[in-house]
Subunit: 149 residues, 2 copies
Amino acid sequence: MVTDDLVLGRQVCFALYAASRALTDVYRPILDEFGLTYPQYLVLLVLWERGDDVPTVSELGAALRLDSGTLSPLLKRLEAAGVLVRSRSARDERRVEVRLTDAGRALRERMCGVPLRVARATGLTEAELIGLRDTLTRVTETIHRQREK
Amino acid sequence: MVTDDLVLGRQVCFALYAASRALTDVYRPILDEFGLTYPQYLVLLVLWERGDDVPTVSELGAALRLDSGTLSPLLKRLEAAGVLVRSRSARDERRVEVRLTDAGRALRERMCGVPLRVARATGLTEAELIGLRDTLTRVTETIHRQREK
DNA sequence: AGCAACTTAGTTGCGCACAACTTAATCGGT
DNA sequence: ACCGATTAAGTTGTGCGCAACTAAGTTGCT
C-alpha cells in the first residue's frame, strides 16, 4: 500500500534529520565552552588536519561541501574570534587563504577530548560507530556522484 | 595518539552532517515541484499520519522535535500556501490546532511517489535502509534519553 | 595586446533551528 | 475567589545553508 510509505517513522530521511540534530545538541554545550558553533568546529578540523598546507576558502568548501555564501560570514566570525586569519593570495588575488593563528592551533590541544565525549553520548560501540560512519559516507558519495552527471 | 581522533574523515558526526545535507539535496528539487521545503514536508507527513486526530502546534513539535520558534513561522507559511489552517482551540485558548485543508489532503496522493524516488537516490538496498534507519533512531533516542536526566 | 569566458569570494534574501523572551490562558493551592 | 506557578504559542535575534547575484581577478583565444 502506497500510504504506508509516507508514515514518518518509516522514513530514513527523518531518522537522518533527527539524528543529525540530536548529535548537534550533544556538541552544542561542549563547543560552547570554547565559544564555537558546530560548523565552525568543522572548519577548525580541516585546518588542523591540513597543517602547513594552507587551504583557500573554496578548498575548505570542497572539504565540507559548503559554498562561499555559508563560509564567508562564518570565517569572518572565526577571524573576529581570533582563531584564524584570512588573506588574499599574492599570486592569485581571487583566492583567499585561511590560516590558523597561534590561538587557533592551541585550541586543538584543548579540544582533543571532544570527539570521545560525543561518541560516548551516542551510546554506540566503536564497531557500530564505524559501521554507521561507513554507511553514511557511502550514502553521501552515492548521492554526490549522481548529482555530478 | 590523540591527534588522529580529530581527523575529519574519521568522525561519525561529520558523516551524519554531510549525509543529512546530501539527502536534503535530493529532496529539494522533488519537493520544489510541490512548492514545499523539507521541514514543511515533514509537518505534512505528521498531519497525514494523524488523520482526524488534529494535533496542536506543540504536538507537532513533539513529533518532529521542533519548538514553536521554528514551527510558528513555518506553519504560517504553510497556511499562506493554503495546505493547512491554524485555529485556537475552543476549550483551551492557549492551544492552536493545525488542520489540513482539502488541498493539503490532496497533496498526499500527488506525493505518494516521493519516498521511493528518494530511497533510490541513496543507492542502498531496502535492508540497508532499514538497518541504517534503526541505528540512527537508536542514536537519537539514546541522546534524548540522556538529555532528560 | 585585447577581450570574452571563466573562476573566486563576497553579498543578499529566504527559510530553517534554537535560545531567550513576551503575552495570554489555565491550573492549583489556599 | 484569588493569585502565583505553569503551559502554549508567538516574537526577536543569531547563525547556518543555499540560491541567485555581484565584483574583481585570471585565463585563453585570436
